[in-house]
């Protein structure tokens, strides 16, 4: 796997887990984070499951990347980088927990076949 792809995967997992620790389990006893990875010739799919407060990524505020220094918010970039670094972001909450599914298309597809 090339370095930029690895960086993107690390960035998305780091930001997602940081959000779960800070926001998901906020005010609760520390809980589990389960990470599973599936790799097929086309995609890498990372699934991150937690049992904290549910969160709807599509409803989160998008940071203003045009903002000047004084207006620039200090937070909100974690989710932004998850969307920037992944090709598909899906989120589901059910009785089995909160499940964030991150799909990254593997680059150099022609080399895969």
């Amino acid at each position: 796997m090339d370095k930029p792809t690895l960086y993107d995967l690390k960035l998305a997992v780091d930001e997602a887990c940081t959000n779960i620790i800070i926001h998901g389990y906020s005010g609760m006893n520390p809980g589990s984070i389960i990470l599973s990875i599936e790799i097929d010739p086309i995609n890498i799919v990372l699934t991150i499951t937690d049992f904290g407060h549910p969160f709807e990524p599509s409803e989160a505020a998008i940071p203003d990347v045009q903002a000047g220094l004084d207006d620039r918010p200090m937070g909100g970039f974690g989710l932004f980088f998850i969307y920037q670094s992944m090709d598909l972001v899906e989120y589901e909450t059910n009785e089995d927990g909160n499940c964030l599914s991150l799909t990254k298309r593997i680059q150099n597809l022609e080399q895969t076949y």
Binding site: K3, P4, Y7, D8, K10, L11, D14, E15, T18, I21, I22, P63, D64, V65, Q66, A67, G68, L69, R72, M74, G75, F77, G78, F80, F81, Q84
Partner: protein, 124 residues
């Protein structure tokens, strides 16, 4: 994560190595806040040895940038590797601060500014 720093012509050059993430960014923020003051307000952050940075690292940069500008100084970035450079670009950071390929190029920019300021003082 490691931090090294040196002074050169009134500019503090802070070199960070390793990972700057939610676990380590606070340490860098604290380190910088103790060293940005009226005497040293020109900062170059050497990121050439940073393997990984998350949004927590960008918050650290923002905090230090604000501190140096409030004192009339500035903070430049130097040597960011390609993935980090891309993060700085897409998040709009490169429109609020200056980023250079090398520490030397950033230092030249500071010394040109100092020179310009000295000249404008002379002409007053």
């Amino acid at each position: 994560m490691q931090i090294k720093d040196r002074m050169e012509n009134q500019t503090r050059i802070v070199a960070i190595a390793g990972n700057v993430d939610a676990l380590t960014a606070g340490e860098v923020t604290q380190y910088l806040s103790g060293r940005i003051n009226a005497e040293t307000k020109q900062i170059i952050l050497d990121l050439s040895q940073v393997d990984f940075m998350s949004s927590a690292g960008l918050r650290m940069i923002l905090t230090a940038l604000k501190a140096s500008r409030q004192l009339g100084g500035d903070l430049y970035l130097a040597g960011a590797q390609s993935s980090l450079e891309k993060m700085l670009k897409v998040s709009g950071f490169t429109s609020i601060l200056k980023a250079f390929p090398t520490v030397e190029a950033a230092a030249v920019e500071f010394s040109n500014q100092d020179h310009g300021a000295a000249q404008s003082n002379e002409s007053k």
